[in-house]
């Protein structure tokens, strides 16, 4: 048995991976928006909108929302720790973060469900 990761280290790995994924998505987002702009001032906006409103893309949106929630809420936990909170109670902190991610992701899923199952 090798060294066992602490919860805080696992949270850190999740934080890094989600952060890198969001940065990657930022560039994807900019590329997609650039692609629909045409030099003569018109856009492919509506054509592209029809594509990205397909259920598979909406599922992708839910996944992205989850990744953003993990990064954002864990980030809040870390800022709280910088002010001295949730350090001795780090288990509670990580547990609270996971529950909040789950609840908000559930709400997001409910809101987007009509767009997925049409």
């Amino acid at each position: 048995m090798h060294h066992q990761r602490t919860r805080g280290h696992t949270a850190f790995i999740a934080h890094r991976i989600s952060g890198l994924l969001i940065l990657g998505y930022l560039y994807l987002h900019l590329i997609l928006l650039s692609a629909i702009l045409l030099p003569n001032g018109t856009t492919h906006f509506n054509a592209v909108a029809a594509v990205v409103e397909r259920p598979v893309f909406i599922v992708g949106d839910v996944v992205l929302f989850g990744i953003i929630l993990i990064h954002g809420l864990n980030g809040i936990r870390l800022v709280v720790a910088d002010f001295g909170g949730l350090i001795r109670t780090s288990r509670l902190g990580i547990w609270l973060t996971m529950v909040t991610v789950a609840v908000l992701l559930g709400i997001g899923l409910l809101v987007l469900l009509p767009d997925i199952v049409r």
């Binding site: 952060g19 629909i36 702009l37 001032g41 909108a49 929302f65 954002g72 800022v79």
Partner: protein
Amino acid sequence: MATEKVSSESIQAKHDLASSVSWSWILQRFTGILLLVFLGGHLWVEHFMNTSVHVVTSRLRNGIFVVLDAGLLITVVYHGLNGLHGILQETWAVARSWWFRYLVWALGLVTMCWGMDILWAFLYRRPFLVIG
């Protein structure tokens, strides 16, 4: 696993109070908190408001939405690239060279200009620079 040896002299070699605050650390927290507002707003607006091109364009003419999107762009680019720079600095000696931060800044500024150009295109129906 044995790590590289450090001596107390090398740790104590240079330290002055003026440079003992990490701006990138502070700004990473600051932009992180701002992003909760900007990104939360962005996701809300893009989902719960009508997203046809005319509505997006006319909505952007309202100052608050431009501030929201421009603010999001600036903070997300700083936060993302500063985070990436931090990861690289930890694991890659080249990223610790003095010039590397300018490279990251250059990439950041280019990305911000690119994003602003897209925003401009939505505002005035044509890109300010000709990209895309």
